[in-house]
C-alpha cells in the first residue's frame, strides 16, 4: 500500500472497529474516515435504551473518545457526505466537492430508516430513530401524560414504548402484522412481549395498518388507520425497518444484491474495495447461505475481518449471529437464525413468568434461540448452534436438566 492508505466511508460501529483493528493488526499507513454525522462513531443500541431514557450521557454512547482517532493516526472528516466513488481514479468525491484518493477503500455506510409513505408523513412530531439527533427530538416530547403512537412493533418500536412508558407517557403501538416482532421471533415470544407491554400499561394493537397522519397547525395530532380508526397523539415514532446504504457502491458498479456482496473477509467485487456492517451481504458457513444482518456483532466482526485482510492475514468471519434487546427488566438475547425451523421447544413458562427460552430446531438440529432473562440458554445455544448439535427436545424442555448437561444425551 502506498501514500493514500485506507479511506473509510461511514463513521459508525464497523468503521470504528476497522480503525482499531487496522492498528492492532499492525497497519501503519494513513487512515481517513469520512462520515456524514457530526459526531465521531457511536453505539446505536443505547439510542432506544439507556440514552433515550436519559440514564447515560453521550460520553458513554460514543465508541471512543474523539482523541482516540488522532492518537491512532486516523483523520476524521465529519459532517461530510461521500457523493461518489470513482473507481478508475481510485478516489471518492465528497458532497462539498473534495477529492480524496485511496489505495484501499472500506464502505461502512450502514443503513437508514425505512420511511413511511402516507399522507401527513411530513407533519411535525413524526419521528424516526437512527441517530443521536433523533433521540433529542423524541425526548423533547417526554412530558408526563403526553400521548405517543409508535408505528411498528419491532424491537426498536417496543424499546421506545418501554422507555416512554417509564417516563409517564401514554403509549399505543400499532403493528400491521398479527403479532409484534413477527420478523424476528416465534409467536410464543411475540405473545409474551404483548402480555408484558399490556401489563405495563402500553396499548398494543396488531393487524392495524397506518394510512395517514393528521394534524393541526402543521403538528401531528392523530394517526389514522386503514380500517378507519383514529389514534390521538402528541408525537409519533416510526420504526418499520431499515434500508441498507448501498447506492454509492451500486452507482460505482460494485456488485450489490440485498447489500454489498462481500466474501468472508469483506472483499467486494473490486479487489481494492471492502465493505462491512449493515450495508453488506456476506456468506455464512454455519447456515450455508448469504446473510445481510443488522447487528453490532456483525459490524464488529466484519470490521475485524476487513482489517485483517488489509494487513495480509486471513481471518474469515464465520460466526453464529447474535443480537439483544432490552425492554423493562427483560433482556432478550437472540442467537442464530430461526428461518425454516421445524420445531420450537420452550424451556420455562412464557405464559406466566418473566424468564424463558425458545429453542428452534430444524430436523432436530439447533439453529437458533430466543432467551428472555436466560443467559445460560443463550450462551450454551450459541456454542451448540455453531456445532450443528442435534438435540433431544424433551431434554431441552426439562428444566431439571442443567443447560451444560442438555447436550450430553
Amino acid at each position: 500500500m502506498s501514500e493514500h492508505g485506507v479511506v473509510i466511508i461511514g463513521a459508525g460501529q464497523a468503521a470504528a472497529q476497522a480503525v482499531l483493528s487496522l492498528r492492532t493488526e499492525g497497519y501503519e499507513g494513513p487512515i481517513r474516515m469520512i462520515g456524514d454525522e457530526p459526531q465521531p462513531p457511536y453505539q446505536r443500541p443505547p439510542l432506544s435504551k439507556k440514552f433515550l431514557a436519559g440514564e447515560i450521557g453521550f460520553d458513554r454512547v460514543e465508541l471512543k473518545p474523539a482523541e482516540f482517532y488522532a492518537s491512532a493516526g486516523c483523520e476524521l472528516l465529519l459532517s461530510t457526505r461521500v457523493a461518489a466513488i470513482e473507481r478508475p481514479k481510485k478516489l471518492v468525491l465528497t458532497g462539498d466537492g473534495r477529492e480524496i484518493a485511496y489505495d484501499k477503500l472500506i464502505i461502512a455506510t450502514g443503513s437508514r430508516v425505512r420511511e413511511i409513505n402516507v399522507p401527513g408523513f411530513d407533519l411535525e412530531g413524526v419521528h424516526y430513530l437512527r441517530s443521536v439527533g433523533d433521540v433529542h427530538d423524541i425526548q423533547s416530547h417526554f412530558k408526563p401524560g403526553a400521548k405517543l403512537v409508535v408505528v411498528g412493533g419491532g424491537y426498536i418500536g417496543l424499546e421506545v414504548a418501554a422507555v416512554a412508558k417509564k417516563n409517564g407517557i401514554e403509549v399505543t403501538v400499532l403493528e400491521t402484522a398479527d403479532r409484534v416482532m413477527a420478523r424476528v421471533v416465534d409467536p410464543i415470544v411475540s405473545t409474551f412481549y404483548e402480555r408484558i407491554h399490556r401489563a405495563e400499561g402500553v396499548v398494543i394493537r396488531t393487524g392495524v395498518t397506518v394510512d395517514g397522519f393528521e394534524g393541526e397547525g402543521g403538528r401531528v395530532t392523530r394517526v389514522v388507520s386503514g380500517e378507519g380508526e383514529s389514534f390521538p397523539c402528541d408525537f409519533v415514532v416510526v420504526g418499520i425497518g431499515i434500508i441498507p446504504n448501498t447506492e454509492l457502491a451500486a452507482a460505482a458498479g460494485i456488485t450489490v444484491e440485498n447489500g454489498i456482496v462481500v466474501d468472508e473477509c469483506g472483499r467486494t467485487s473490486d479487489p481494492d474495495i471492502y465493505a462491512a456492517g449493515d450495508c453488506s451481504n456476506h456468506p455464512n458457513g454455519i447456515y450455508g447461505r448469504r446473510l445481510r444482518l443488522e447487528s453490532v456483532h456483525n459490524a464488529i466482526e466484519q470490521g475485524k475481518a476487513v482489517a485483517a485482510t488489509l494487513t495480509g492475514k486471513e481471518k474469515p468471519y464465520n460466526q453464529v449471529p447474535w443480537f439483544w434487546s432490552d425492554q423493562y427488566d427483560l433482556k432478550l438475547q437472540i442467537a442464530g437464525l430461526s428461518t425454516g425451523y421445524t420445531q420450537a421447544v420452550v424451556r420455562g413458562d412464557p405464559e406466566h413468568g418473566r424468564s424463558f427460552a425458545v429453542f428452534y430446531l430444524k430436523d432436530g438440529v439447533l439453529v437458533a434461540v430466543d432467551a428472555v432473562n436466560r443467559a445460560p440458554e443463550f450462551m450454551m445455544a450459541k456454542l451448540l448452534i455453531a456445532k450443528h448439535a442435534k438435540l433431544d427436545p424433551t431434554r431441552l424442555a426439562d428444566e431439571t436438566i442443567n443447560m451444560k448437561e442438555v447436550a450430553n444425551a
Binding site: D326, N373, K404
Partner: protein
C-alpha cells in the same frame, strides 16, 4: 478518580485513572487498553469484557447479579475469580485495583 491497573495476558500493564461512576470496562475501552472487547457496550449481553480479579479485591466488589453470574458460568475462559468488567463501577474503595485479562474474549 479510581486508579485501575489492567494487566494483559502477556503481563503488559496499563494503569488508568477511571472517573467514578464509569465501569472498569469503559475505563479500558476508552483508553485503548487491549483485551476487553465489550461488544455489547456494557449491556451484560455479550460476555466479552471478562477480567480476573485477585483475591484481595474480590471481596470489595459488589455481588454479581444473576445475569452476570450465569453469563460467566458459560464463558470459555471463566474462573472462580472472573467478573464482567462492565458490571463493576469505579468507586473510591476500588482505588488501586488490579485486574487481569484472559488470552481471548471468545
Amino acid at each position: 478518580m479510581t486508579k485501575v491497573t489492567y494487566v494483559e495476558h502477556d503481563g503488559k500493564e496499563h494503569t488508568i485513572e477511571v472517573a467514578e461512576g464509569l465501569t472498569l470496562m469503559e475505563g479500558a475501552v476508552k483508553n485503548m487498553v487491549p483485551g476487553i472487547d465489550a461488544d455489547c457496550g456494557g449491556a451484560c449481553a455479550c460476555a466479552t469484557c471478562m477480567v480476573y480479579v485477585p483475591e484481595e479485591w474480590l471481596a470489595k466488589l459488589p455481588a454479581k447479579e444473576d445475569m452476570e453470574e450465569t453469563m460467566l458460568d458459560f464463558c470459555e475462559h471463566s474462573q472462580p475469580n472472573s467478573r464482567l468488567s462492565c458490571q463493576i463501577k469505579a468507586t473510591k474503595n476500588l482505588d488501586g485495583i488490579r485486574v487481569t485479562m484472559p488470552e481471548s474474549q471468545h
